[in-house]
């Protein structure tokens, strides 16, 4: 009995340490945003009074509203287009079966594991030749058709009751009307979960925007943080404040939609 108790205690200690290590960087980020850079580098653990100064410094170095506007614009447009294109395809692959499309789908699954690094050189040359360099179009366009999200929607569509479609057909609805007025409302929670993943990925995307966006006016918040961090003498107060601001939207989404969030991440294995 006492051995079982001891093990129980061990589990709590183990989980508590892990929780501390997991959450501490968030505390560090919040504290850092209120401190001066030298204090942060020296490891000061308490809140300081430098928040407004850091904010002013950040504002003088970066056009913050513009940068956030860019990030939001790219993330929102990417999310909308990705959801439309990928859910259409997921629905199409699942509801209208044919041997050729099944083969194509298998080919897509194979391509799923090709890392972006293998595509970025030709993609960059393509974008340059199309004179789309330094545009949001160039950032958004290559990501719209996401194999992962197509796959996700196809998996979710397996649970879509076919009687609903048949009933709608009997009522004389066209296929696109069925998709729009029957499928989409029924699959709300799938759309919610997919929205979270796609928005997060677009908001946090780094490598491709780094390649495509050159002028400061077009930079996103992730690119700005990276530039600030790469400075010869980085001002950590400013950097950590910027990371707080960049992380805030995703944290809010996480806490408000925790269930859909986790569901979205699990989506592919169900």
């Amino acid at each position: 009995m006492s051995f079982a108790l001891l093990r129980r205690g061990g589990v709590y200690v183990f989980l508590s340490i892990a929780t501390f290590l997991s959450v501490f960087p968030f505390y560090w980020m919040a504290v850092g945003a209120t401190n001066q850079s030298p204090d942060i580098v020296r490891g000061k653990l308490g809140f300081g009074g430098n928040l407004l100064v850091n904010f002013q410094h950040l504002m003088t170095q970066v056009d913050l509203p513009r940068v956030f506007g860019n990030s939001f614009f790219i993330a929102v447009v990417s999310t909308l287009l990705t959801l439309i294109v990928s859910s259409l395809a997921g629905y199409g692959f699942e509801m209208f079966r044919s041997r050729i499309r099944e083969r194509i789908f298998q080919l897509l699954l194979l391509l799923l594991s090709i890392p972006f690094a293998a595509l970025m050189v030709p993609l960059f040359v393509m974008i340059s030749r199309a004179q789309l360099n330094n545009t949001f179009t160039a950032v958004i366009l290559p990501g719209i058709a996401s194999i992962f999200i197509v796959f996700y929607f196809r998996q979710a569509t397996k649970a879509f009751p076919r009687e609903l479609r048949d009933a709608a057909r009997v009522d004389g609805l066209k296929e696109w009307q069925i998709f729009l007025f029957v499928y989409m409302p029924t699959m709300r929670s799938t759309y919610a979960a997919a929205t979270i993943i796609v928005f997060m990925n677009a908001w946090n995307n780094y490598l491709w925007p780094l390649i495509v966006l050159q002028t400061p006016d077009n930079k996103t918040i992730t690119l700005v943080i990276s530039t600030l961090t790469a400075a010869y003498t980085p001002d950590y107060g400013v950097i950590l404040l910027a990371t707080v601001l960049a992380t805030a939207p995703t944290l809010v989404i996480f806490f408000v939609l925790q269930r859909q969030f986790v569901q979205g991440m699990l989506g592919a294995v169900k």
Partner: protein
């Protein structure tokens, strides 16, 4: 007659729904992959190519940096992924116990790192691991170390930082997959094992791990892709240094294309090295999956 018309309408609709995605994937994924194969036989600076035959492939064989990047990627993979998977399994098993208190709190806390962007947490870790930063301060105060560890300027420790950072960011993510899978495991198996006096550790290695094998395989695939993609963290925490000790494949391609003397043809060749690696790994995974299907 009516039947064939219905079939045709099914076909037309089927293609109509998948077409936007297929066109976009064709332009932005399949075409670039094929084009980069052609590009990999080109030599020249920037976007000015001329046909170079097998020159790039010869260059591959003597490319010390490529070997370095490959080695680093392997080191990250073989050390980081097992640590992460074992930790994630332990968390999942601990949190799967319904009598555990504060489960929701622990789960949320352990999952929280997944919410941060790769750049945001890279900056965080860079600030925490600076030479006189909080990590060194804490370790010195606790007398774990006598002198500060040169985290970012020593090749060995720089790798440790990268591995620590990635583990912090992704363990909770893997844990969620295992937790979901554990919920589908029949509780009576554990009950029977407990009654038979099977100790906890054996229950973990003999029941839990075999039951979770498919999910573990799946997360290993995700981690393989993730490791091959590794760029954001190294680019922001160590810039691939010191002495290229943390240079990864993705970063090497980026450097070849945009930083060093740009050589698009050769970058494309290195990209194809990744494609070949992925193809080999996919084949291995396919074989494992097939064996499993045959066995069951």
């Amino acid at each position: 007659m009516a039947q064939t018309r219905l079939d045709r309408s099914e076909q037309v609709n089927g293609w109509a729904f998948v077409m936007p995605a297929l066109v976009l994937l064709g332009i932005f994924m399949i075409y670039p992959i094929i084009w980069s194969l052609w590009m990999s036989f080109q030599v020249g600076r920037g976007a000015n190519f001329s046909f170079g035959g097998l020159a790039n492939i010869q260059r591959l064989a003597n490319d010390a940096l490529l070997i370095k990047a490959l080695t680093n990627t392997c080191i990250f993979f073989f050390i980081q992924v097992p640590i992460m998977i074992v930790l994630a399994l332990l968390f999942a098993v601990a949190l799967n116990d319904p009598t555990l208190r504060f489960r929701g709190l622990f789960r949320t806390a352990l999952f929280l790192p997944c919410v941060t962007s790769l750049i945001a947490y890279s900056s965080l870790f860079k600030s925490m691991f600076s030479a006189d930063g909080i990590i060194n301060q804490t370790l010195l105060t606790l007398h774990v170390i006598g002198t500060p560890i040169p985290w970012l300027s020593d090749p060995f420790w720089a790798r440790v930082v990268i591995i620590t950072a990635i583990t912090w960011r992704w363990t909770g993510y893997n844990m969620i997959f295992y937790l979901a899978a554990l919920q589908n495991v029949d509780k009576s198996i554990y009950e029977a094992a407990r009654i038979d006096g099977v100790p906890a550790w054996a229950r973990f290695t003999r029941i839990t791990i075999p039951m979770l094998k498919p999910v573990i395989l799946f997360t290993t695939i995700l981690s393989t892709i993730g490791t091959l993609q590794l760029f954001d963290e190294v680019n922001n925490i160590t810039q691939g240094g010191p002495g290229n000790a943390t240079l990864t494949l993705s970063m090497y391609i980026y450097n070849l294309t945009f930083r060093m003397m740009p050589s698009f043809g050769y970058s494309a060749t290195v990209s194809w090295v990744i494609v070949v690696i992925v193809a080999i790994l996919s084949f291995i995974q396919f074989m494992i999956a097939r064996d499993r299907r045959r066995a069951s």
